[in-house]
Subunit: 693 residues, 2 copies
């Protein structure tokens, strides 16, 4: 270990417990909750195995009026829930870490559509997040009942083996709703003055401490006011930082660990597009003014040097991590063993959050094994040896899927893996994506794999060589993996419109694809329309790039908002504000069906005719797999046999263009399963089942 990093491995006492080191996986959602207990246990256990000294499960609603359906949370409404969660505590303990559970109530933010209990809040206001009407203003009975539920849940968490029990007070949920003057308009002892607004939180902590204080560390998660200056970032109104610090002083005797977040969730989990590493420090460092107790704060830290510096500064005691602990569960061990160049750095894309929110199953663009520990039996650092190491493998295409596939094949013991790329450098679509404004950190996907490929003696990387089918047949490989990626349609084909769009032809000067723009093709004239039916980062990125070059840019999108997919990564509002500040205009809910000289034509949201003048159009309509090489090879079994090729597979966008997390997963999966009878079809995975009673 580098001596600079030794400070990170000091034990830290928190109340009656001691963390073995300063690496702390803060509570974060996974989609597993208490509904998928074995998946949850394996997902958290791997972090303990990788060296994180404290590992928490996600938000745990204490009662049926904090029902998060359709989201999945670690409900701890009763003893059976606690028994399900106990599997995670045990898995964490198996590797010597402490286990934490974040007891939670969402107040007005909990939809309660599953349980059908009334939503609760300090005062009766409608939530901007939750349609269906305003919540019930909590009565004194409601307050007492919820506090009893919290205590009951704390007792059950302790009995289930958790070492650290939270009173969750951050991110705009019930505790924060009491603290904020915007959402708390009460005139009784729970509203008005700072002490009154804090009473619900303080009383709950006091009661929890009375129940389990001797046995568990009592943690609380709070939000300091963030005002990052990032346009579009929601902030939490109604609680000033100095007020919050005053409350910290009031509560300090009751707290064993302060878990400090900043502002709203999109700000606290800010992406690399808009927030640099450690962006929260300017607020979180103020915590030390108010407490000498242990503090944990996050900062999407990926650098051990910066982690050590943050600890040495004294501002916090623990390095909190959610996303980096997903990207590399073994970061602490790698630091301890000086294997710094093996650390998979989080890209800050928030695809983990997109997967958890949209698909109820966390995943990671850097770590394909995240969330797959139980059901597919995958481990991020160990790989089953192949049954046929002597078969030479050729991987064609060094994009995200091809790179990942080659790395995993090498780790599985294949003796010779050739990764051949047509372009002068590896990276596939990341070659240009990482050069779009604000997307630089996504390049870490390439960078980590480039280092891994270089470290594997069995791997040969060849760039600048475009293989045709005949070249592949002549190559001398026994296994071939085609990873030739995808490209943007040049003809305006778009969802619901299978025919090429009249006038759309990217061989013309005034019609462009995203790749062409990134490769330097520039539109004639001044006015450019970027037409987006894709809905994610490409259209806004191209628009911003061209605006910076002095073009007057309008994004015409079929969606009601620009880049709706960015809402799934918490970036939507920031992205829209960012693009607006760059001078880009947007036409919403509009479909283009024709390009004519000087104009695009189509229809608006009601189907009425619409047109706009412009000099050029960039088509961000949809991607098409580059599957010609695969189809040619796979369609000629005799030629393959004659060439000694036992199998041709394909991965990534060459199968179907997908999110980056999914193409990396696909490359990884094929490499893991290449010895199965039908590698094109993923092997069945273990599933959690409902007890049939």
């Amino acid at each position: 270990m580098d001596a600079r990093h030794a400070v990170l491995f000091e034990p830290v006492a928190i109340g009656p417990k001691t963390l073995p080191n300063r690496f702390y996986q803060v509570p974060h959602a996974s989609g597993f909750g208490s509904a998928m207990p074995r998946t949850q246990a394996a997902f958290r256990g791997i972090k303990a195995e990788g060296g994180w000294g404290g590992v928490c499960v996600e938000y745990a609603p204490v009662s049926a009026d904090a029902d998060e359906t359709p989201a999945i949370a670690a409900d701890i409404w009763d003893k059976a829930d606690a028994e399900a969660l106990a599997l995670a505590a045990r898995a964490i303990h198996d590797h010597g870490a402490l286990a934490g559970l974040e007891l939670y109530h969402g107040g007005a933010s909990s939809p309660n559509g599953g349980s059908r209990f009334p939503r609760l809040a300090p005062s009766q206001f409608a939530s901007e997040q939750q349609w269906g009407g305003p919540a019930k203003e909590m009565t004194a009975d409601d307050i007492g009942r919820l506090q009893r539920e919290w205590v009951r849940a704390a007792r059950q968490a302790a009995d289930a083996g958790f070492d650290i029990v939270y009173v969750y007070g951050a991110h705009g949920y019930l505790m924060t709703q009491f603290l904020s003057t915007v959402t708390n308009r009460r005139t009784d002892g729970y509203g008005g003055s700072l002490a009154n607004r804090g009473r619900f939180w303080l009383e709950t902590m006091d009661a929890v401490r009375a129940e389990i204080g001797g046995q568990c560390a009592v943690a609380t998660r709070i939000a300091l006011h963030g005002d990052s200056g990032v346009p579009g970032a929601e902030t939490l109104p109604g609680i000033e930082i100095d007020d919050m610090l005053a409350l910290v002083r009031m509560a300090d005797d009751m707290v064993d660990l302060w878990d400090v977040t900043v502002g709203s969730w999109p700000e606290d989990s800010g992406t690399s597009r808009y927030y640099p590493e450690g962006s929260q420090r300017r607020w979180t460092r103020r915590m030390r003014e108010a407490t000498a107790k242990p503090i944990v704060a996050v900062g999407r830290y990926t650098s051990p040097d910066l982690m050590a510096e943050v600890i040495r500064s004294g501002e916090v005691d623990l390095i909190g991590s959610a996303r980096q602990a997903i990207a590399d569960p073994f970061l602490p061990r790698k630091v301890a063993e000086g294997r710094l160049d093996e650390i998979r750095e989080c890209t800050g894309s928030n695809l983990c959050i997109l997967r958890e929110e949209a698909f109820r199953h966390v995943g990671c663009v850097q770590n394909a094994t995240a969330g797959e520990e139980f059901r597919r039996g995958w481990h991020p650092e160990t790989f089953a040896p192949t049954t046929g190491p002597d078969r030479p493998v050729l991987v064609v295409g060094a994009g995200p899927a091809g790179m990942e596939c080659a790395v995993v094949l090498a780790k599985r013991g294949f003796g010779a893996v050739h990764l051949v790329e047509a372009e002068p450098e590896i990276g596939g679509r990341l070659r240009w994506t990482r050069r779009l404004p604000t997307l630089g950190d996504w390049g870490r996907i390439t960078d980590w794999r480039m280092i891994q490929l270089a470290r594997q003696p069995c791997v040969t990387v060849i760039t600048g060589r475009r293989l045709r089918a005949a070249d592949v047949l002549d190559y001398g490989a026994e296994l071939v993996v085609i990873a030739t990626g995808s490209s943007w349609r040049t003809d305006g084909v778009q969802p619901g419109h299978p025919e090429p769009m009249p006038g759309a032809d990217a061989s013309l000067p005034h019609v462009l694809t995203p790749e062409q723009v990134c490769a330097g093709k520039r539109p004639p004239g001044r006015q450019v329309v970027v037409y987006d039916t894709d809905g994610y980062y490409v259209a806004p990125g191209i628009a911003e790039l061209l605006a910076a070059d002095g073009y007057e840019v309008t994004v015409v999108t079929t969606f009601a908002v620009l880049s709706p997919v960015s809402d799934e990564t918490l970036e939507g509002e920031m992205l829209r504000a960012h693009v607006h500040r760059a001078g880009v205009r947007v036409s919403h809910a509009t479909t283009i069906t024709e390009i004519v000289p000087g104009q695009v034509r189509g229809h608006d949201r009601y189907g009425d005719a619409w047109s706009a003048d412009c000099d050029a159009v960039v088509l961000v309509t949809q991607q098409a797999s580059e599957d010609g090489l695969y189809l040619e090879l796979a369609g000629d079994p005799p030629a393959l046999e004659a060439a000694g090729i036992r199998a041709v597979h394909r991965v990534g966008d060459a199968v179907a263009p997908r999110l980056l997390s999914e193409v990396v997963f696909d490359g990884h999966r094929l490499a893991r399963e290449i010895d199965s009878p039908d590698p094109a079809t993923p092997l069945p995975f273990l599933r959690e089942r409902t007890d049939l009673g």
Copy 2:
């Protein structure tokens, strides 16, 4: 039984099975899938008990590449899934009905985010429904594999006890994607000619029939082209009705039951706002041209007379129902017993679909027990007698919650239930809601309860009497239920803005609430802004009402689309087109913060200043509970004791303004649980648990 209806009770042979009558609950989603097997079984079993001769479970994905996460479907990927679903088959059989399972593949519409398999489609096009990139064009191997999965699933369904096994070909899913020239651009034997496009479907049916044909009825669900003329209704492009009928002729030998739908889901499950009862008939009656086999079709039929007429016409053999079977599982029995006035008629609000889609738990605005059969042990027709029938009950307020509460209290055997309403007629907010354009059928919520109340000798309904606290204390009741509802804020308070809006005061002539408009208050001038931060039916309804009166109306909404909640009821696009045709304009994503003479002011989606000229403003910002009476009574225990009142409860909007389905549920729940120790808090309910392995 009325002799007119006898035809509905004739048995119908379908292949090797015989349905006991012509009432058939078609497959429809519930949110229970195979993940909540006991909930599913109880929900379906109650329909069999109520007399439906055929009862189906919902869509059942046959493989992991039809993964519907985050939606919940009746996955039948393997034997353990089939064992979970067998509980439903058994519950249906317990009452003599036949059980159906709808084997399904969504193709490009299946998100596959949970399983992470590539999405599949006949050709590589992006889906308008599913972001994340276009699907994989299925290879010949994929086609063969899926057909084997379908056969395997059919075998497991048969072994699990299902009598009717579907090959699902409707609603735009995989079979339809093959049939449509828009989504199928293949050049092999599965694309091109009609016979080729139908090949996947025909081959799959043939293979399923070969596996289970002797044992089970083979059903298929198809879509006939719908073009209802309702603006905004999606239609399914690429398959003309005559082509579909030609395919029916090709497939007819293999099919035991034709389940016929119309167009897309929003059209097929059209709401009462835009589609009358039986709207599908003009297409579905054409099926008889192509087949003599049994046909089932839906039509949101609520009238037994119309049902019998449809059967007698010969166009179909079975009355298909989804929504009416939710609203009244006992409809067939009530028809059989001539109790026609007890039938709870479906309102066609699609709140069942909203609940299933948004909250993963079906519910019903007419039938509060829907979905609650297992977990709360509720039966739609039987009620546990109260332990204290002699306590006189006073229900204050005859809106949806108060009416429902009074009905259930009466059915539980309370000897005297007084329902006292301040207004001249009962109905609460429905009094004016049902008079908004297109919302007339929602009045069935009132109508059914009015009849029930009149039939219960223990119930006294008093209208036109506004009770103050002193009146309640003097009333002579031992139990009091306050159901005083809610009203729209008159001061412009809106989500995120707790202070009244400057200039917003509905006592002024140019500022109005929805109730005021419905009561006849009309804005001065010509130009009216309807300001909507609610997002559902009120703002568009008021806008349309005023437009019909000749006003120039603009809805200013904080949402990116008008009435986003209507997307959850499948009405969004139709509602927006409808309002547009009525001449109403819309300003999207705009917040009003001030009303000044002749103008509203605020900011646009980027926070930039915005204003619009207008003569008047209708505030549809948020509702406030009318809880004054409750709080006054509940806050004075000595007065209650002196008056002999043992308890004061409240239900519905007086607790928190909610969706109509939820306030009816709330009134029902309190009546069921009024003898519990703490009736304000719903009793714990049974939950399905994950096997801990």
